[in-house]
């Protein structure tokens, strides 16, 4: 009937560039918005948009799996939690005056310049090998294989790190001090309720 791949290959070069500029066109204002928006919650939402744009860039680079992971974990998962944390911690969001301390301006400027320089140098110093061949269509398999063979040690380290973070979060959340709300939220009361349910059922 028609060959999709032909079409895709024929158009891909132009299409890719167009899409790249489109993404950039959307993302750069969003990124500026994150920096400049006085309303920190809105900045958080814009950040979600930026991460979404990054996942679009991954898609353009044929890294579907990474794109999806980026979207799911960074855009939705982590940033959303950050936004929610902001909502919960900063009740006076709307009309917050910016704190302007003149004596901080120069150091802040210098630091920014320094960070920029470091990043720029590191980007320059890295040799970015460019390969002409198309990435394999089934790059999930490649990814999985290399993660579990070549890079299994870093992978395991990362998992242990996350596990530690998880346990740490649980330990932080689990408090053995008495809190006023504990009758409602505490574990004992829950198991008690369940016990009651059980009694009712039996």
């Amino acid at each position: 009937m028609f060959n999709l791949n032909d079409l895709a290959h024929a158009a891909s070069a132009h299409l890719e560039i167009c899409l790249f500029y489109l993404t950039a066109f959307i993302m750069i204002p969003l990124a500026y918005g994150v920096l400049l928006d006085r309303n920190i919650i809105r900045a958080g939402f814009l950040l979600i948009g930026v991460f979404g744009g990054i996942s679009a860039l991954f898609l353009l680079l044929q890294a579907q799996f990474l794109a999806m992971a980026q979207l799911m974990i960074y855009a939705v998962g982590i940033t959303l939690v950050v936004v929610i944390a902001l909502m919960l911690t900063n009740p006076n969001l709307e009309y917050e005056k910016s704190v302007e301390l003149p004596q901080q301006q120069l150091p802040a400027f210098l630091t920014s310049i320094l960070v920029f320089l470091v990043l720029y140098m590191s980007v320059l110093s890295e040799a970015w090998p460019v390969r002409n061949e198309l990435p394999s269509a089934d790059n999930i398999k490649v990814l999985g294989t290399s993660l579990l063979t070549q890079y299994s040690l870093p992978f395991e380290f990362a998992s242990i790190l996350l596990l530690v973070a998880l346990i740490g979060a649980v330990m932080l959340a689990k408090s053995d001090h008495f809190h006023p709300g504990e009758e409602i939220l505490g574990n004992e009361s829950i198991s008690e309720t369940e016990g009651n349910e059980n009694v009712v059922k039996v």
């Binding site: 009937m1 028609f2 999709l4 079409l7 024929a10 158009a11 309303n39 919650i41 809105r42 939402f45 979600i48 579907q64 799996f65 999806m68 992971a69 979207l71 799911m72 855009a75 939705v76 998962g77 959303l80 939690v81 936004v83 929610i84 909502m87 919960l88 709307e94 269509a137 089934d138 790059n139 999930i140 409602i184 939220l185 829950i190 309720t193």
Partner: protein
């Protein structure tokens, strides 16, 4: 228990409900087929005819072809949601001994249409102190992913029809899950932008709930992917389809199909004896036992090999136990997924973000007019999509539940009908439209999906809402450990059988 009436007095109402559903299904089905046909076949064919040698026009025709899945989904979603709202209201009415909407049109046929028109004509209120951009963006962010996320499933349930081949993504289910995780951003955004405490609390609850329940949900899906050996929804559905399995050894494309089968399943086949020794198509006779909810073809290959007498006694018992465990695990996985999905789309009993008795209407309290309509539409669409995911992952996608030998005559009859229709179409110079496998797949898929939707309605009619702490407790202390245990169990069982 005594409250339930013994005698079925209610045949009339049930019949009305069934009739209504059938008519609506026909409309949904017909509309989607018509649109797919017109956009995917007729218009490109006409353009091709007119184009002659013009390459640009041919490309245009191809681009229109590429857009078919998107347009099909876009037509499908509003019509489908129209029916689902009606089905939910009438179905709940049945369960709660009421009649439900039955005034607009015959039997309330047009009720949702009337509601939609009403909503569209309502004033679009921007609450004071709201963030206009975010407020408007929120429903879109809530709704758009369900359109885009549904697309790969289209390829899965239509047996990879060539019109929908473009959406046959290698990341498949991962893409769908990633898309279905986005709506929560819309909820939080809408809740925050409304400048309303109820909305904000609704949004926060929704986020907390979605993030907690996404973990067991994704783990359940990933476990199935592990069991099957692929992320591609089309392949997952294909592997569960008895008709497809029957075609593995004796159809013209058998070699190709077998190769595909082995490329998916082969690597994980460490246990001997292999099913290849007696022919993979012997699995086709097990019908619905091939579905992943019964452990997929792992279980059926065990049965086939057992029937062929390939096992020693000890091996048979040992593997039988493993297969039993696998079935239990698969059932639990399915339940886990359905629970998580229920929470993810904020349905009762997990509808804390919009708990009426506590939060007025939660995150959409301040919404009115078309923006509210979009929220409403998206909610039902999400229900349909999670049901479709469950159907593709556990209930065999578009496959029939019957063994291939039993179902073959039906397929032949369908093929006859399709051939006749196509002949007629060709006679008047239009491209062919029907294909027996696609037709059967679509019908079975939609039937199964609606079975799950009705189940969700039943659950909604039965279970009370969770309390927020119970919800978190249930998610983190019960479902996540269970999903981790199942992940481990299935990984081992997969190699043992």
């Amino acid at each position: 228990m005594t409250t339930a009436a013994a005698a079925p007095y209610n045949i009339g109402e049930i019949w009305k409900f069934v009739r209504l559903s059938l008519i609506w299904m026909g409309i949904i089905f017909g509309a989607v087929w018509l649109v797919s046909w017109v956009v995917g076949a007729v218009i490109p064919a006409l353009i091709d005819q007119a184009a002659g040698k013009d390459a640009v026009l041919h490309n245009l025709a191809n681009i229109i072809r590429l857009l078919t899945p998107l347009i099909a989904v876009m037509v499908f979603i509003p019509i489908n949601a129209t029916y689902m709202v009606l089905a939910e209201r009438r179905g709940l009415a049945l369960l709660t001994v009421r009649k439900g909407p039955n005034r607009v049109g015959p039997d309330g046929f047009l009720q949702t249409g009337a509601d939609a028109v009403k909503l569209l004509f309502k004033e679009n209120i921007d609450p004071e102190g709201s963030d206009p951009l975010m407020f408007t963006l929120a429903p879109i962010i809530f709704f758009a992913p369900s359109v885009f996320g549904a697309i790969p499933l289209l390829a899965a349930v239509t047996s990879d029809h060539e019109l929908f081949h473009i959406v046959n993504l290698p990341t498949g289910i991962f893409y769908v899950l990633a898309m279905s995780s986005i709506p929560v951003v819309g909820i939080v955004m809408g809740g925050w932008a409304s400048n309303n405490k109820y909305s904000l609390v609704g949004g926060l609850r929704s986020a907390a709930q979605a993030i907690s329940y996404e973990i067991p949900l994704v783990l359940a899906v990933i476990t199935v992917c592990l069991l099957v050996g692929t992320l591609n929804v089309v392949d997952i559905a294909w592997l569960q389809n008895p008709m497809a399995l029957a075609g593995l050894d004796n159809s013209p494309q058998a070699a190709q199909a077998l190769q595909r089968w082995e490329s998916i399943r082969g690597a994980s086949h460490m246990a001997a004896p292999s099913i290849s020794s007696i022919g993979v198509n012997s699995l086709a006779d097990f019908g619905f036992l091939n579905w992943n909810i019964f452990g997929g073809d792992k279980f059926t290959s065990y049965l086939a090999l057992l029937a062929a007498g390939k096992y020693t006694v000890e091996a048979a018992i040992f593997k039988g136990l493993a297969a039993l465990l696998l079935i239990i695990s698969s059932f639990l996985l399915c339940g886990l997924y359905l629970t998580g999905a229920c929470a993810e789309i904020n349905r009762i009993p997990f509808d804390l973000p919009e708990a009426e008795s506590e939060l007025v209407s939660g995150y959409n309290t301040e919404y009115s007019g078309i923006r509210f309509a979009i929220f409403f539409l998206a909610e039902f669409t999400n229900l349909f999509i999670v049901s479709t995911i469950a159907v593709v992952m556990w209930f065999g996608g578009g496959s029939s539940p019957f063994p291939a030998t039993l179902y073959a005559p039906v397929m032949q009859a369908l093929a006859g009908v399709c051939g006749a229709v196509n002949e007629v179409l060709k006679g008047i110079g239009l491209p062919a439209i029907l294909e027996a496998t696609t037709l059967s797949g679509a019908i079975w898929a939609i039937a199964k999906t609606y079975f799950l939707v009705y189940f969700a309605i039943l659950v909604r009619g039965t279970l009370p809402r969770f309390r927020i702490d119970q919800l978190m407790d249930f998610g983190w202390k019960r479902l996540i450990p269970l999903s981790l245990i199942l992940l481990l169990t299935v990984t081992f069982l997969k190699e043992l059988i």
